[in-house]
Amino acid sequence: MNKLNYFTQLKALMRKEVQQILRDKQLLFLLFFMPILQLFIYGFALSPEVDRLRLGVVDHASSTVSRALTAALVVNDVFELKESGGRDAALAALVRDGALDAGLIIPADLERRYRAGLKTNVQVFIDGVDANSAGIAAGYVSQILASFNRNLSSGSQESREIISPQISFAYNPGLISSWFFVPGVIALVLNLVSTLVSSAALVREKDSGTLEQLLMTPVSSKQILLAKIVPLAALLMITVAVALLVSVLVFHVPFRGNLLLFLFVSFLAVLVGISIGIALAAYSENQRQSLLTSFFINLPVIQLSGAIAPMESMPEFFQYLSYLDPLRYYVICVRALLLKGGGFSEIWIEVLSLSVYAFVLLSLSSSRFRKQLK
C-alpha cells in the first residue's frame, strides 16, 4: 500500500468519526456540557469552611462581661446566635438533636469573680459528629476567648504575647476553598468524559455491527484505531480548554504556571482516558456493558486520585495504592500549574509517570482491541 493512499483513507475515516460524534447528542453533552456542569456543582457545593455555626447561649450571669463574651463569639461570623431554650437542659437537648451546632453556658458568678480577679470557666460544647469542622471550631473558640481576655486586660485585641507566630498562607492567601476543588474537578471530569466518550465511540461500531463492515474495506485495523483516537483526542482537548476557561472565568482560579506544560500533561491525561475507554470497549459486547464496567474502574480511579479529598489525609495504605492511579499524577500537576506556578522542574516526576502510564496503557489497550478485530 502506498503512503498517499494510507493517509487518504485515514483522513476519510477521521472525517466519518468526527461527524458521528458531533451527531450524537449524548456524546456532545458529555464532551462540552458535562465539564461545565460538574465544575459548577463541585465548585459551589464543596467547601470545608467553618463558619455560621448555630450557637445557643445560656447566660446565667447576664452581665456586661457575659454579653460582651457572647458578642465576641458571634462578631466574625464563626458563630451565629440562635434560640437556646433558656435552660441548660434545653440547650443540651437542642445540640443533641442537631438543631444547634454548639452551646455556651456562662455561670452566674462570672461578673463577681471577674471583679475579684478570679478565674472562671465557661462551658462550651460542640457537636462533634463532623469531626473536622468541630476541631477547627474548637480552635476558633480558644482563639476568640484569648483575644477577648486580651481585650479585657489591655483594651487591645492585638496579641502582646512574648511569642507570636506570624502566619501567612502561600498560594491561596484568601483561603478560597474552590481553588482547591476546581483543579481536582478538572482532572475528575476529564477522566470521566474521556473514558465514557471513547468507549462509546468504539463499542458502538461493535454493537451495531458496522465494525465488521469496516474490516471488509481495505483499511487496516491500525488505521481504524488511529482514526478513532486522533479525533477523540482533539475533541477532548477542547473539553480541557472549556474546563480551564470555566475555572479561570467563573471561579477566578489563578493560572500561574506554563500553559504549554498544562496542555501537554492534559494531553497525556486524555491519552490515559482514551486507553481506558479502548480497554472497556475491547472487553465489552455492547454499550451497556462498557458503561457499567466503567463504574468499576472510574470509582476507584477518581477516589484515589486526591481530586476531592486531600491525598495527604488518606491512610498510608491508600496513599501507596494511589501510585497505581494515573489520575493522581494529573491532579498533582494541575494543582501545581494552576495554584503554585511551578514549572517542569517541580513536577517532572509526575509528568514522567503520567507519560509512562499513557504509553503503556495505550499500547496495551490498542493491541488488545486489534487482536479482537482479527
Binding site: V122, D127, S142, P165, F180, Q287, Q303, A309, E312
Partner: protein
Amino acid sequence: MKKVLAQIGKEIAQFRRDKLTLALAFFLPFVALLLYGYATRLESKNILVAVKNFDTGSLSRDYIDTLFSTGQLQAAPFRGSGVDIMEPLDKDGVKAAIVIPPEFSRKVSRRERAQVQVVIDACDVNNARVVKNCIIASTNYFLRSKDLQTTRNLISPQVRLWFNPGRDEALYVAPGAIAVILWIFPCLLAALAMAREKEQGTILQLYASSLSSFELIAGKTIAYTLIALMQAALIISASFLLFGLRFVGDITVFFLSLVLFLYSAVAFGVFAGTRATTQSAAVQIVATTGFTTALLLSGFLYPLRNITYPLSLISNVLPARYFVSAARNAFVRGSDFGSQLYIPVSIAIAAFVLYMAASKILRRMQLKG
C-alpha cells in the same frame, strides 16, 4: 395484587440472571464503602513541617518540641538556607515552614517579644487551617507551661466535643457513605431494569396487557426495594465490622427512614428509566443527576450550610440529604424519636412524588380500554 406479585417474581428472576448486574448490586457498593469509608479523610495527621532554628538556646528547642508534641505535625528537614521561607515548601511533601530567629531564647527569657515566621501551603484550605490552629494552640500551651503569658486568662473556655470526643473521622464519613451508596446503587439498578424493557421493546407487551401503570410500577419498585434492602443489610453490617459503627439511641426512625429512602431511590431510578430510551442513556441520567447530587449536595463530605445558593435549594429536596442526617443520628448522635420525625416524613413525600411522576409518564403510553 396477584399481578403485582407475579411481576415481582419476574423482576427478581431477571435480576439474578445477569452477572454484571449482580456485581453492580453487591460487589461495587462494597468497594465504594471501602473507598469512601477508609480513603476519604478531610484532616491530615502527621503533616510535615520544616523548622529552621537560627537560635542556639534551649527555649527554642523546647518550643519546637511543643509544636510537634500533639502528633498532628511532624518534623521534616528544612531544605534551604532559611533566608527564603518559601523554599522548603513542596519539597518532600512539606506543608509548612517555620523560621525561628536568632536570639529567640535570650529575648524570651528576658520577656521581650520574639517573632516566629510561619508560612503554610494553602492549596488544601482545610488542612492549612488545621496547621494554623495547631501552631497557635501549641504556642499558647508553651507560653502557659513556661509561665510566660502576659495577659491573664480570667475567662477560659472548657471545650468539649460531644458524640465523637476522639474526633474519629470514620464516624463522620461512614454513616454518610452508607447513605450515598444506598442511594446510588438501588437507583442505578432500577433505572437499568426499566430502560431494558423499553430498549428491548418488552414494554410494549406490558402496555398492551391488562396491567395498569400503577401496578406495573408497584411491581418494579417493590422488587427493587427488596433487592435494595439486601444491599442495605450488606453495607450496614460491613460498616459495623469495618468501621465499628454501632446504633446509639433510637433506631425506629432510622429503619423507617431506611425503607422509605430505599423506596425513593428505586422510584427515582424507575422514573429515570421511563425517561430514557436506552439503558446507557438511563445510566447517564442517573449518573449525572442522581450520583452527583447525592455525593455533593447531601452533606456527605462537607457541611450543608456551605452549599451556595441556589444549589442549596436542590439539596433541600434530596432524600439523600435527609438520610445522611438519619444515619448520623442513629450511629453517632443518638437523637431521640420525636426530634427527627421530619426525616421519614420528608423522604416519604419525595418517594410519593417520584412514584406519581413515573406512573404518570407510563400512563400516557398505555393503551386505553
